[in-house]
């Protein structure tokens, strides 16, 4: 293959786009993130999960608002990190809204990674999003248990 043809082939749109490009779903979540924001963390109906560490380059805060039936009525997130991390957490809030707590707890990182077509090196972002959901659910559960324990103690 001549040198010129070799160069032209590698500059073709297909060759350029196949070299580690973000999937359109990731770009969509990055440019139009859903559910960005925060709830009052002292609200008894709110569970807050914070995962990651700034030194690692990724921090995710995911908050859920749960009604008395255990259904997640609203979710908000704030993420510091790469496009894949932002998209993973944005997608996570989209998916858990309207679900029961037990259902939301079943969301796995493989599903998030598949939806966003994450490359191998970014699979950790989807894992972090799953961890964020689990942390938020755990925090809400802890708050609820504490509240019912205080109520029981006060009632006695």
């Amino acid at each position: 293959m001549s040198l010129t043809r070799h160069i032209i082939k590698n500059l073709s749109p297909k060759a350029l786009s196949s070299a580690a490009a973000y999937h359109k779903n990731v770009i969509d979540h990055y440019e139009n993130p859903r559910n960005v924001g925060a709830f009052d963390k002292n609200d008894p109906n709110v569970g807050t999960g914070i995962v990651g560490a700034p030194a690692c380059g990724d921090v995710m805060k995911l908050q859920i608002k749960v009604d008395e039936n255990g259904k997640i009525i609203d979710a908000k997130f704030k993420t510091f990190g790469c496009g894949s991390a932002i998209a993973s957490s944005s997608l996570a809030t989209e998916w858990i809204k309207g679900k029961q707590m037990s259902e939301a707890g079943k969301i796995k990182n493989q599903q998030i990674a598949a939806e966003l077509s994450l490359p191998p090196v970014k699979l950790h972002c989807s894992m972090l999003a799953e961890d964020a959901i689990q942390a938020a659910l755990k925090d809400y559960q802890k708050k609820k248990d504490k509240a019912s324990a205080t109520a029981a103690a006060a009632g006695n």
Partner: protein, 190 residues
């Protein structure tokens, strides 16, 4: 007794041979050398427990000898350890082309603390990288997804299920190449 000798054998060689370097950057070897000199000049006793000599006493909370636990390593020590682990895994994989049927696109590359293993044939890519702030090794497997490994008692272990990195690699690569002769533990340098 056998296991105790194994424990000593697994201590980083720098503790047992303070003047020996592995061709790593001179600043890291001199800092290890001076660490040993400081210990000796301050008259620190080697603590003996169960016939094993520890240069650094085990931290009670971790119950793990310092040089065998990533949480207790310094950044420099972790860097060397992680680099040795990754290069030894990379070297072992490089040798695959000689005795295993590898795909034409099979490729191993190591740079800046990231080991990338392209399997070729649409089977995906492994990425193992050093995560210095956490003192962990992060693995991304096309078979089992992402995992994070801490160095505990001389092994890189995944906290959630206690499986060692080298054992996971053995299991997955043996299935991928359909042979039991693969053993990542035989080329270890950590």
């Amino acid at each position: 007794m056998g296991t105790r000798i194994l424990l000593i054998g697994r201590l980083p060689s720098t503790l047992l041979r303070p003047l020996c370097t592995k061709g790593t950057a001179s600043h890291s070897s001199s800092s290890r050398y001076s660490a040993v000199i400081l210990q000796r000049s301050f008259g620190l006793q080697l603590e003996q427990r169960h016939s094993v000599h520890y240069l650094f006493p085990p931290m009670p909370a971790l119950n793990c000898p310092r040089m065998l636990c990533s949480k207790a390593l310094t950044e420099l020590e972790f860097d060397d350890l992680a680099e040795n682990t990754l290069t030894s895994i990379g070297d072992y994989l490089d040798g695959f082309t000689e005795w295993l049927p590898v795909d034409a696109d099979f490729d191993i590359s190591y740079a800046m603390g990231v080991l990338t293993i392209k399997l070729g044939g649409g089977r995906g890519t492994y990425v193992i990288n050093k995560q210095s702030p956490n003192k962990q090794l992060w693995l991304s497997s096309p078979v089992s997804g992402p995992k994070r490994y801490d160095y505990i008692h001389g092994q890189w272990v995944y906290g959630h299920d206690g499986v060692a990195l080298h054992d996971l690699l053995n299991e997955e690569f043996r299935k991928l190449f359909e042979t039991d002769r693969i053993d990542f533990n035989q080329n270890r340098d950590d």
